[in-house]
């Protein structure tokens, strides 16, 4: 049985101009990009836009991939950065209500428990600062260890754990506010 060609080999081929290899890489990782975008941004259409941005920028970006990290780590980083760029642009456009914000608005008016959960999630995600949000997405949703997240975000592992605890504080404060104003 032939083992699946590793990402690294595909990357090298793609860097050397092999478009099939590039196609395989995208096929393999598209879902991750989309998923990450979805959880960072909180909407299907935003996530797809992001995936499009990332995928189309990848041929050029790939030139700067130097093999010092795993390809997936690098791709996570590229995607997270793209997501953050979007978030920043949203902010400057005064459109913070997109994505998670929208969902929050929508879910608030629903009564069932799932909707309740989603509303809470949306609220939490909207109010979390980006640097905490990205850490949570990576560690909670993508099941990364703090070391892996630290590799993706390029910050020390200590910073990751600090951010997780900050996020916890933030969520707790949110919960208290909820109790105070149900």
């Amino acid at each position: 049985m032939r083992m699946e060609t590793s990402d690294e080999i595909l990357v090298n081929r793609a860097q050397a101009g092999d478009s099939d290899a590039f196609g395989q890489l995208l096929e393999r990782h598209y879902d991750m990009i989309l998923r990450l975008g979805y959880r960072m941004l909180g909407s299907q259409s935003l996530a797809e836009e992001l995936a499009q941005d990332v995928c189309c920028a990848l041929p050029v970006k790939l030139g700067s991939f130097r093999g010092d990290a795993k390809f997936t780590t690098w791709l996570y980083r590229v995607s997270i950065n793209a997501a953050k760029d979007r978030l920043r642009k949203q902010k400057t456009r005064n459109a913070a209500q997109q994505g998670w914000g929208d969902m929050f608005e929508m879910q608030q008016h629903d009564a069932d428990e799932t909707a309740n959960d989603r509303a809470w999630l949306a609220q939490a995600m909207t109010t979390l600062p980006t640097d905490l949000r990205e850490v949570l997405v990576l560690t909670l949703a993508e099941d990364m260890t703090q070391a892996e997240a630290s590799a993706v975000l390029g910050v020390p592992a200590g910073t990751i754990s600090w951010r997780v605890s900050e996020a916890k504080k933030h969520l707790r404060a949110l919960a208290q506010a909820e109790e105070a104003y149900p």
Binding site: I9, N12, A16, G17, Q44, A124, G154, A175
Partner: protein
């Protein structure tokens, strides 16, 4: 109460994007298109079709290897290929795995060499891998290419986009104009290896024949940087890359400061016994440029605010920025303090206020900076200012040095707002410098606002020499050269000196008549720069005289017994002037104990000559030279000299 995180994890995982195959196909098709157009735009220097299938990444690594080391050892190993002109080595793996250690010879059958134009070298010129990989001792090849570890290859490949592959810490001593290209030239892949400009070492001159030696000063230091990176990578630098004067001038020397009312620089001359030859003497000339006002300048507290957003990863951005700051760091004093704040979404304070003397700590944190993430917003600038304010002490100057590639997107995006923010902050005693890197979305309006406002200084940095100009000189207060076209002429007294040779400065030689010709260009001295030149002289009557007296032409030498080895003349132009000024100093024929500074300079001259295997060194050994360097090390506040000694040890082991 860990429930919040669990709850969030659960909720977050429950949120999945819908599967939308059409959209996915559409996006992937667009990406493929983008890939194809990127390929078309790429350089044609790609491997052939066949190798593209098999070789993939490694050729980049190999190419990088050849880019960052010199080609000579490879050329020795494969001398047949010298003629062919080695350009790219393509390694063809038998197995489909480019990341197998290259030392693992089983996986590689052969090395195929191709010329840059893509034509194959002839069959008989195919080299068996053993010749350049471990396993066989090539007849004449020095070690480098024989032991490339994967690690090194990959490392080099990794550094591909940063100039620092060669320059890592290496262009740091750079002090002149236009020498960066020179320093980097050897790393450029080319069919020719003749990228170093260096002449054959200055020959021994007979005073009665050539009593006058003329040269232009040289404050470049690139050669030292190259030599260092070469030795640190495990091989001796090619002889032609060693320019001894640049090595000597890399180091700051503690020469007497000039009396500015007389001349913009001071000249120090001393004569002492040559360490490597007890029958000759070294004439040491030290020139020290005035340090206007910076002599007593207050300590600086610098907060580097560095944009590490994703877009900064281009070679002319973050890597250049790192090098620029490294340059700057070299000019700082131990009493200065540095802190680093990044403002990519993630980080924050990367380096707490640290004394400039802790160079390696600062360099390490600088080195670790990596582009990735987006802009954090206002926080960065505010944090930098806050940090700068905490560093303030009575007589220090605080400065935030913002480096970015773009719209200074630091939360305050309106020029007016930025202006008033900076203005407001100036009252706290903290100044702002803004350095733009790369091109693209460079915001001139913002720069202008800052500059015209007068509170901040803004500059655009596209090359290292520009970085030198605006960053280093600005901070150290040296905004302009203090003397242009500085030429040195030494006339030796044939009654006292039989022979002489100038160590280094081969590329700076001037004709005797050029000295008084103001139209002939020469080197500049910047504020605070020091320049050193060393002659080895053989006194009359010394057993070390190499040239016998002539039988038919006897020069009657009579100077009425003037007790001087020679006469030093120095010409310079004050900035903006076209007419030169002459300074003269007699060189008394007395021999002293060398000063520490002169001793160290001599040891670097020895270092350079050991590397070039100079015949004038006689039986001088590395150990002796290391001892000499250690004796001249002095306080060495920044550790440059210690580093040099380490390099000598390393070079000794490579020999």
């Amino acid at each position: 109460m860990t429930d919040e995180l669990d709850r969030l994890a659960k909720a977050l995982k429950a949120e999945k994007p819908a599967n939308n195959p059409d959209r996915k196909a559409e996006i992937l098709a667009m990406a493929q298109k983008s890939f194809n157009s990127a390929q078309e735009a790429a350089q044609p220097a790609r491997p052939t079709h066949k190798s593209a299938q098999n070789v993939s990444g490694i050729w980049t690594g190999v190419k990088e290897m050849f880019r960052s080391i010199n080609l000579r050892p490879a050329l020795y190993a494969t001398s047949a290929l010298c003629v062919a002109g080695l350009a790219i080595i393509v390694i063809q793996p038998l197995r489909d795995s480019p990341l197998i250690p290259i030392g693992d010879t089983e996986n590689y059958a052969e090395v195929r060499l191709e010329k840059l134009d893509g034509s194959k070298v002839k069959e008989e010129q195919l080299v068996v891998l053993d010749q350049i990989l471990p396993g066989a001792e090539p007849a004449t090849a020095p070690p480098p290419v024989t032991k490339p570890s994967t690690l090194k290859l990959r490392k080099m490949a990794n550094e591909r986009d940063s100039i620092s592959s060669i320059g890592a810490g290496s262009v740091s001593g750079y002090l002149g104009n236009g020498i960066v290209a020179d320093a980097l030239a050897p790393v450029i892949l080319s069919e020719s290896n003749e990228t170093f400009s260096n002449d054959t070492p200055n020959p021994l001159k007979i005073v009665t024949k050539d009593p006058v030696s003329t040269f232009s000063i040289d404050v470049d230091t690139a050669s030292y940087s190259y030599v260092r990176s070469s030795i640190e990578s495990g091989y001796l630098p090619p002889v032609e890359s060693v320019r001894i004067e640049e090595m000597i001038n890399y180091f700051p020397y503690d020469y007497t400061a000039p009396d500015i009312s007389k001349a913009p620089f001071s000249t120090e001359v001393s004569v002492f016994q040559t360490p490597w030859n007890s029958d000759t003497k070294l004439l040491h000339i030290g020139i020290q440029g005035a340090k206007p006002a910076i002599e007593n300048r207050p300590p600086l507290n610098l907060v580097f605010l560095i944009d590490t957003s994703g877009s900064m990863q281009d070679a002319d951005k973050l890597p250049l920025l790192k090098q620029s700051f490294r340059l700057l760091l070299n000019t700082l004093r131990p009493t200065d303090k540095i802190a680093i704040v990044t403002y990519a979404g993630s980080a924050g304070t990367v380096l707490e206020p640290t004394a400039a003397s802790e160079k390696s700590k600062i360099l390490n944190s600088l080195e670790r900076l990596e582009a990735g993430g987006s802009t954090a917003g206002q926080a960065g600038l505010r944090q930098a200012y806050a940090l700068a304010e905490t560093m303030q002490s009575d007589n220090s100057i605080g400065r935030v040095m913002l480096a970015t590639d773009g719209d200074f997107n630091v939360g305050i995006s309106d020029p007016e707002e930025l202006k008033s923010f900076v203005e407001e902050k100036r009252d706290t005693g903290v100044y702002l410098s803004v350095f733009g890197f790369g091109n693209g979305n460079y915001r001139d309006d913002m720069m202008q606002t800052l500059t015209q406002n007068g509170n901040g200084v803004a500059a655009y940095i596209d090359t290292l020499s520009e970085a030198q100009k605006v960053m280093v000189d600005q901070v150290s207060g040296a905004l302009f050269p203090i003397a242009n076209d500085v030429k040195i002429q030494v006339e030796f007294n044939p009654e006292r000196v039989a022979e002489y040779r100038l160590i280094g400065y081969e590329t700076r030689a001037l004709n005797r008549e050029d000295f008084n010709n103001d139209a002939v260009d020469a080197g500049e001295i910047g504020a605070g720069h020091s320049v050193t030149a060393i002659y080895e002289i053989t006194p009359v009557g010394s057993p070390a005289i190499k040239n016998d007296a002539l039988r038919y032409q006897t020069e009657a030498v009579s100077n009425d017994g003037i007790d001087e080895y020679g006469f030093l003349k120095l010409r310079y132009k004050a900035p903006g002037k076209t007419k030169s000024t002459l300074i003269t100093t007699a060189i008394p024929s007395a021999s002293d104990q060398p000063s520490q500074e002169a001793q160290f300079a001599a040891s670097i001259a020895g270092f350079g000559q050991l590397l070039t295997k100079s015949k004038y060194l006689n039986s001088w050994t590395w150990d002796q030279n290391i001892a000499l360097a250690n004796a001249g090390k002095g306080d060495d506040l920044f550790g440059y000299r210690t580093e040099a000694v380490q390099l000598m040890r390393l070079a000794q082991s490579l020999k």
